[in-house]
């Protein structure tokens, strides 16, 4: 039996969660270091995955594991990674230690004797639990296995959002707690409803396979092969209904307009590290699952739905950007910017061109890193002043230049400045979209203009201008905070100049997905463009 590397990568953080939760109440600091150690061990395992992964190997999945699990449901414990999964696992494993470091003091119980229930152990254990579930959903090649962790992930996330606030709300503690629990419930219900609709589709998929193959199966490969061999013939309407069931859940998670409204609440009320966990790590499962499950299980229905999804993605891009321009709250601004960026990712996926999908997958990575940089610095800023409102800041760059500088770099990455990582992916998405849907490509470009507006105005209002009275004594970034931000910025620069190591791993997987959908890139043909006019 081969070494179960994939299982181990998910099991280590899970074990870490249990171990961290078991640390006695008095040993807070020990719990933090323990959790960090487990997250670093996970990062090491993710690195081993990257090394052992061979981008040029034949076959869709590598490092596979397969065991019987619930035979009655046709469910197997099947793991495997393709290029996209292995990169996203690495991204998640990389971000978690930074998230922990950034939130090092977020869950310290207040010494003032407040009755607030925020044990440090719980905070770090929940983060590790989320990491374990995210990793295993990237690895699962069995639809049911994926579904289980896709859903179960909501519970620790829910407690992270609802249980730990950043203490920066103006309207008193009780009001803040109420807002936070509202945000947590909204998050949970949106995603739970999405998940339940997917459950109906999952059951439907089982019924279809059981009907035609004799025994029901959830194995992605088995289903794809059976379809290719003509043994499994899903009726057009059934395929469309199943596709919609799956897509709905992923569109809630991603999130896509008009199912996005939980994200600004959740990101606004959660602490900055948790907000990063939501948008940079957990939400990636949604876009990833569109590529892995929607496109591969239901290629025909995907093509059928493409026009509508492209329009929704465009609306997300513009709507998110416009609302970001109008925000008064820093964290909500970043949330709306994320909605806009997820629009780009979905657009790239459903443009059905290899450039678009390469760009989209690379975008997932870059968005993770750039949002983490921006949001974590924003979190440091907010923790200093105790307010999330943009209007409460001004002239910070004179008092805390390093903080302002890193904030600027994070912001510039968000607006896709050439030379920083997101530029490459955004450019690929736009080019890929343009070659198939020229009009959509043009409209999406407006999103970049708006991004420049919301980022630069945010920077101008908070960092430049006369120094506000409350900001005057603000300390600059501390060593711990710098240790969080510096590597992320270095990574942004590196991937901005030289994205090849990542694209090399991603591209074969993207080509495979494209071939599953039976899509070839449109030829750049002058007559086509003429005809389109």
């Amino acid at each position: 039996m081969a070494f179960p590397l994939l299982t181990l990568t998910a099991a280590v953080p899970a074990l870490g969660a249990v171990a961290t939760a078991a640390v006695p109440a008095g040993r807070r600091t020990a719990a933090k270091w323990l959790a960090l150690a487990f997250s670093l061990a996970t990062l090491a395992l993710a690195a081993v995955q990257l090394v052992r992964f061979d981008p040029d190997a034949k076959g869709p999945f590598q490092l596979t594991e397969s065991h019987a699990w619930i035979a009655d449901f046709g469910v197997r414990y099947e793991l495997g990674v393709d290029g996209i999964a292995v990169v996203l696992i690495a991204l998640a494993a990389l971000l978690i230690p930074f998230i922990m470091l950034a939130g090092w003091h977020d869950a310290d119980p207040q010494e003032s004797g407040s009755s607030r229930w925020r044990p440090t152990q719980g905070f770090f254990a929940l983060i590790l639990m989320v990491e374990a579930m995210v990793v295993i959903s990237f690895e699962a090649t069995d639809v049911f296995l994926f579904y289980i962790f896709f859903e179960a992930m909501l519970i620790p996330m829910y407690f992270l959002i609802g249980g730990f606030g950043d203490g920066a709300a103006g309207q008193g503690d009780a009001g803040a707690a109420a807002q936070r629990s509202y945000a947590a419930v909204k998050f949970l219900l949106y995603n739970l409803v999405g998940g339940l609709i997917m459950l109906a589709a999952v059951i439907g998929l089982y019924a279809v396979t059981a009907d035609q193959l004799g025994t029901g199966t959830f194995s992605l490969q088995e289903i794809v092969q059976a379809r290719a061999a003509g043994k499994l013939d899903i009726a057009t309407t059934t395929e469309r209904a199943l596709f919609l069931g799956f897509f709905f859940a992923f569109a809630v998670k991603a999130p896509l307009w008009p199912l996005h409204t939980w994200l600004p609440n959740a990101m606004g009320e959660a602490t900055a590290p948790v907000a990063v966990l939501i948008t940079a790590v957990v939400d990636k499962v949604g876009t990833f699952a569109m590529l892995r499950f929607c496109l591969q299980l239901f290629p025909e229905a995907s093509k059928w739905a493409t026009p509508v999804i492209v329009v929704l993605a465009l609306i997300s891009i513009l709507y998110g950007a416009l609302l970001a321009v109008g925000q008064r709250d820093i964290k909500r601004l970043v949330a709306y910017a994320s909605i806009s960026h997820f629009g780009f990712i979905v657009l790239g996926i459903f443009a059905m061109t290899s450039q678009g999908q390469s760009g989209a997958t690379l975008y997932m990575v870059n968005h993770g890193v750039s949002t983490a940089a921006l949001m974590l610095v924003a979190g440091f800023l907010i923790s200093r002043r105790g307010s999330r409102l943009i209007a409460d800041y001004g002239g910070v760059q004179k008092v805390a230049p390093v903080l302002a500088g890193t904030f600027l770099v994070g912001g510039l990455a968000t607006l896709s400045l050439p030379g920083l990582a997101p530029f490459v992916s955004e450019f690929l998405v736009l080019v890929g979209t343009f070659s198939r849907y020229p009009a959509a490509g043009i409209v999406a470009t407006l999103g970049i203009v708006l991004a420049a507006l919301y980022v630069l105005v945010l920077y101008q209002r908070t960092m430049t201008g006369p120094v506000k009275e409350e900001v005057r004594g603000m300390p600059d970034l501390r060593a711990r905070e710098l240790a969080v931000v510096a590597p992320l910025i270095a990574l942004l620069l590196f991937l901005g100049v030289y994205p090849k190591p990542v694209t090399e791993i991603l591209d074969p997987a993207v080509r495979h997905t494209m071939s599953q959908v039976h899509q070839a890139d449109p030829k750049p043909d002058v007559n086509d463009v003429e005809a389109a006019k």
Binding site: A68, D72, W117, I155, G162, S181, L189, L199, A200, I203
Partner: protein, 550 residues
């Protein structure tokens, strides 16, 4: 009447041959689970009569636990002896089936009851009264609350240990109920387990009026439903000339084996069959709490002593659905096209009403009552699948659900204030901050109710919906998913209340229970998680048990 000789059953044989009455042939070994439980119940009454008060509690507890464990061992022995599969047959002259579903359900009922006994025996939650430890029960159910008789009883130190034999009698009836293979046995079993439950409901030590009200309500509505059932039985007898399940099924299927001249006018009359079948179904749907026969559920669940509620919610449901399955799959399969649309309707309404009405509830016990109605709807979705998969999914769901229910009600007994259990939801605010472990345990049960993956609730829900989808009941699955979403809302609301709300100044305290309740809760959590993560063994078990004997 010798021409009717072929309709021998346990109930009719003496009428057939008045001149010589042979002893009925009874397979005692195969009926041993029921006999052990009922025997222990009789012994329990003797204990009440002859033992001094002080020693009754430990003796009763021991007797009950040993009896239930022994009965469970007997079930396992029968199943191991092949009675669940190859040797399945109808024992006691066709009155009681010994087959896979019967043994599976009996095993479930016995285990559930064993855990429920732990909560019955809990005596540490309330402070001792008059120097004696007290449990959740009153000594005299019929005494006027706060009246003279009640005070005297308390002062004299009357014991409350007759709940144990009552429980055993109820369990005995429940064991026969899903195994009953003729309609009269079904009716007798129904009464045997219902009457002790009516009495148990009236025995709450606190909130006496509510408790008595619940007992009266349960009794009156239960009596109605029994009457419906009995009337249905009579009509079905008129239709088929026999009360045995297989006999009726034969007549429904068109292979009439005999024709009694007295009944010649009615035999084969479809009106009798349809009305009779509907009435019997009504009686059973009442017991499982399906809409529109659910009216009693919230009041009874709220008023009854919480250990009894937990026992009733878990075990009655198992027994009731067992009987319903047998009736639909053995007696009326030939009538599938008539009852399926009706059961579809009942399932849909039950799911929706349970989930929607639960949203407005402010009392934990009423909330769980409505949630149990919604779950009855989910189970019905598996029942209408009319396939072996449907049977085994329902069996699995019942096992999973009953332990979650039992665990949840056990937690409810722990949260107390000056007036006894603090069941109003507003009092649960901030419980997670004050006693994280209790709140976390309750959260696990709520998540299982909500069907979150990695809990038994999800595996069960998936099993029944899968069976329903394969049985062509796609719309039921959609409705089920929608009501799950609605249901998730109120389960989550309780979690929010416990973890994210500020605790109240005069909030309840969590009593420290004895190992009895602790182990009941621990078993509930363990079963919930094991069935959620590794359900295959139990699915296999339920799958093997999925075939009814005819």
């Amino acid at each position: 009447m010798s021409h009717a000789a072929s309709v021998h059953s346990l109930w009719t044989m003496s009428a057939d041959a008045p001149q010589k009455i042979p002893a009925p042939h009874i397979e005692y070994a195969q009926l041993s689970p029921t006999l052990i439980v009922l025997g222990a119940a009789v012994l329990g009454i003797l204990v009440e009569a002859f033992l001094p008060r002080r020693s009754r509690h430990p003796v009763q507890l021991l007797l009950t636990c040993v009896a239930l464990a022994a009965a469970f061992a007997a079930v396992v022995a029968l199943a191991a002896g092949g009675y669940g599969t190859g040797k399945a047959h109808a024992a006691a002259m066709g009155a009681v089936a010994v087959d896979g579903p019967a043994l599976f359900l009996q095993g479930t009922i016995l285990l559930v009851s064993l855990v429920a006994v732990f909560t019955f025996a809990e005596r540490r939650l309330d402070p001792a009264a008059h120097g004696r430890p007290v449990d959740s029960f009153a000594a005299q159910g019929a005494a006027v609350p706060g009246g003279r008789a009640e005070q005297d009883a308390v002062r004299a130190g009357f014991t409350t240990t007759e709940v144990f034999p009552l429980l055993l009698f109820a369990v005995g009836g429940m064991l026969v109920f899903p195994a009953a293979d003729d309609l009269l046995t079904l009716f007798v079993a129904l009464e045997v387990f219902s009457l002790p439950l009516y009495v148990l409901c009236a025995l709450a030590r606190r909130k006496r009026l509510l408790s008595q009200e619940s007992a009266v309500k349960y009794f009156l509505l239960g009596a109605f439903s029994s009457a419906f059932l009995l009337f249905g039985v009579a009509l079905l007898y008129g239709y088929a000339g026999t009360v045995t399940y297989s006999g009726i099924a034969d007549v429904v299927g068109g292979n009439v084996r005999m024709l009694d001249p007295v009944l010649a006018g009615t035999t084969g009359n479809d009106a009798l069959l349809l009305i009779g079948g509907a009435l019997v179904l009504m009686g059973l749907l009442f017991k499982v709490g399906a809409v529109p026969f659910h009216m009693w559920t919230p009041d009874v669940y709220q008023g009854a002593p919480t250990p009894v509620t937990g026992f009733m919610a878990a075990a009655t449901k198992v027994a009731g659905f067992g009987a319903l399955l047998r009736l639909l799959y053995v007696v009326l399969p030939g009538l599938r096209w008539d009852w399926r649309p009706v059961m579809w309707g009942v399932a849909i309404v039950t799911m929706l009403v349970g989930a929607i009405v639960a949203v407005t509830q402010t009392d934990v016990k009423r909330l769980l009552a409505y949630s149990s109605i919604a779950h009855a709807g989910f189970i019905l979705a598996g029942v209408v699948a009319t396939s072996p998969d449907g049977v085994s999914s329902v069996l699995f769901y019942l096992g999973a659900y009953s332990f979650v229910t039992l665990g949840a009600f056990s937690v409810v007994t722990l949260v107390r204030d000056a007036g006894g259990e603090a069941t109003h939801l507003s009092k649960w605010a901030g419980l997670g901050r004050r006693s994280p472990l209790t709140a976390a345990t309750f959260a696990v049960f709520l998540l299982a109710f909500a069907g979150i993956p990695l809990t038994s609730g999800f595996a069960g829900k998936f099993a029944v919906f899968k069976a329903a989808a394969q049985g062509g009941a796609g719309p039921l699955v959609i409705v089920g998913v929608v009501s799950s979403a609605i249901a998730a809302f109120f389960y989550v609301r309780v979690i929010v209340l416990m973890f994210f709300s500020e605790p109240k100044e005069d909030g309840p305290t969590v009593a420290v229970p004895s190992p009895l309740t602790s182990s009941a809760i621990a078993i509930g959590v363990a079963v919930t998680l094991v069935l959620g993560v590794a359900p295959q063994y139990f699915l296999d078990l339920a799958g093997q048990a999925g075939v009814f004997v005819r």
